[in-house]
Structure formats: C-alpha cells, structure tokens
C-alpha cells in the first residue's frame, strides 16, 4: 500500500468512526429521553451503548487493532479494563452491601443515648 492510499484509508477510518460514534450517541440520547425502554432496564441499555461507543473510539480513533504490532497495546488495554472493572463493580457491590446492612438511624440514636 503506498503512502497516498494509506492516508486516504485512514481518513476513511476516521470518518466512519465519526459516523458510528454519532449514531451511538444519538441512540443514547434517544433511549434516555423516550419511554421506549423499560425504566429499570435503562442503565443496562445506556451502559451497552456507552461500551459500544468506547469500542468504536478505540478501533477507529485510537487504532487499536488485531495486527501483530498491537499485541502489547491490547494486553495493556486488557489489564486496564480488568482494573477498571474491579474498582467500579467492587465499590458498587461493597457499598450496596454496607448500605443494606446499616443500622436504621433510629437505632443509632438509641445507642448514642
């Protein structure tokens, strides 16, 4: 592939990335503002759309691919995703448990007396 066509193919990549990202952003706004989606399922729907859009950004804008030169990038990314998942889901899980097991405020006042 010569230089010129390499450049036009990367312009094409950026443009299709922009189109996908716009589509997914539009879907997120639509889903959160219409009542098409069942209320309690909304967080899941938004999370799926957000993760899809992050994938689009990674592939089309940050050029994370499956080529042999990308192995290290992908491995580091996988490790980052692992840590992010642990931090976010772990915090939510622990804090929800603590909230659930917390003494009602009236009982705390009783003990303080």
């Amino acid at each position: 592939m010569n230089e010129k066509s390499k450049h036009s193919s990367s312009i094409l990549a950026y443009t299709s990335g922009l189109a996908f990202a716009l589509l997914l952003t539009g879907a997120s706004f639509l889903v959160s503002h219409s009542h098409e989606l069942w209320g309690p399922g909304l967080p899941v729907g938004l999370a799926v759309l957000a993760i899809a859009q992050m994938g689009v950004h990674l592939v089309f804008f940050l050029h994370v691919g499956s080529g042999p030169d990308d192995t290290n990038t992908v491995l580091a990314l996988a490790f980052g995703i692992l840590i992010v998942t642990l931090v976010v889901s772990g915090s939510l899980w622990i804090m929800a448990n603590l909230n659930g097991n917390m003494m009602p405020p009236s009982a705390i006042m009783e003990m303080a007396r």
Binding site: E3, H7, S10, I11, Y14, T15, G17, L18, A21, L22, T25, S28, F29, S32, H33, G39, L42, P43, L46, A47, L49, A50, Q53, M54, H57, L58, F61, L62, P68, D69, T71, N72, T73, A76, L77, F79, G80, I83, V84, V87, V88, G90, S91, L92, M95
Partner: protein
C-alpha cells in the same frame, strides 16, 4: 541467542522490536507511543475511582437538588458534539501532517482548539450556574462527587488545549520533523482518550439522571 533477545522473550515483549527480529532496542517512536499508552491507561484507572465514587454517591443529595433538576441535556448534547467533532478534526489534522500538507493541518487543529474551547466554556457556564443557585460542591455528597469527576475531565481538556497550542507553535517553528510528529501522535492519543472518558461521563452522569 543474544542477551537482549533472551530478556525480550522471557518478558513477552518480543514485538516491541518491529525492526524485523534482529536484536537491539526498539525504535523511539514505538517505545514512546507504548509508554504514553500505559500513561493513558493509568489515567483512565484514576478516573474509574472517581466514577465508582460518583456511582455510589449519586443518590445522596442530602435534601438538595438532584441531577434531574440540575442537568440540562441540550447543553450536554452540544458539549458531546463539540468533543466528538474535535476528536475527528484532530485525527484528520494528524493525517494531513503525516502527508506534510501544513495548511490543512493548521486549519484542522485550529478547529479542534475552537471546539475544545467551546466545550470548556459550556462546562464552565454550567458549573457557574450550579454554584450560583446554591448547588456547589459543598452542598451534598452527590455534588462533591459530580464536581470532582466532571471537573477533573474539564481540567484534562484544559491541559489538552494548552498542549495543542504548544504543538501547533512547535510545528510552525521546527517544521514537521520526526520528534514533532511523535509528540503530535501522543497528543492525538490523549485527545481521543479524553473523548472516551467523556462518553462514560455523558452516559453515567447526565443521561442516567434524566429518568431516575
């Protein structure tokens, strides 16, 4: 097998060396972009701690205003479009710089800067409006977490704008030389990563609050 090869193989980083398998250090461009990628991931991990904090505290309004009352989704939509298009023009600008067409690069990076500045202006306007109606960071745990998360993203965008201006000045002064191109590649990685973080902010902070 030389010592370098042995270490490379035992640590699994064999393809940092892209020069065709012969021993020797990897080219600077490869090492720098990989190191910068590690920095970006650690930055995203820092953000994940604030995201977790926000997710835990988003309901704790202490009788104060909730996100639903405070957030203006039209504003958020404009901010999102600004960042998305600035990411696009930044990507196109770097393609044109690799192609050595400097005028197109200046125009595209100028647009990137303007869009980033519009984003910051809108965010500052939003923050000022919230503080003015008594919903500052000290009002409730929810608002502390909100200002910490969204404010940190805004600080990153501000640093990005300063870096962008610096890189354009450097390109003008030194020309599209190898080290300038390398730094610009790092800058566009940074700018695209900020866009990824904004996608999470937009979904978790603003859109979740619309119907909750």
């Amino acid at each position: 097998m030389s010592a370098t090869e042995a270490t490379a193989e035992s640590t699994g980083v064999t393809n940092l060396n892209v020069s065709g398998g012969e021993a020797g250090p990897a080219p600077v461009a490869i090492v720098v972009s990989y190191g910068f990628w590690i920095f970006l991931l650690s930055d995203i991990i820092m953000f994940s701690a604030l995201f977790a904090t926000y997710a835990v505290l988003s309901g704790q309004t202490d009788g104060g205003p909730s996100g639903r009352e405070l957030f203006d989704t039209r504003n958020v939509a404009i901010e999102t479009l600004c960042l998305l298009f600035s990411s696009y023009t930044c990507g196109l600008g770097s393609v044109f710089l690799e192609r050595r067409s400097l005028p197109a690069f200046y125009v595209l990076f100028g647009i990137t800067f303007v869009l980033g500045a519009i984003f910051l202006g809108l965010e500052f306007h939003e923050f000022a409006g919230m503080v003015a109606r008594g919903a500052g960071p000290s009002r409730s745990a929810f608002l502390s977490a909100f200002f910490a998360l969204v404010g940190l993203h805004g600080a990153h965008v501000s640093i990005g704008l300063i870096w962008l201006a610096f890189m354009v000045a450097q390109t003008a002064a030194k020309g599209p030389r190898e080290f300038v191109l390398r730094r610009l590649r790092c800058f566009s990685l940074f700018w695209h990563a900020l866009d990824i973080i904004w996608v999470a902010v937009m979904s978790l902070v603003y859109l979740m609050a619309v119907r909750v």
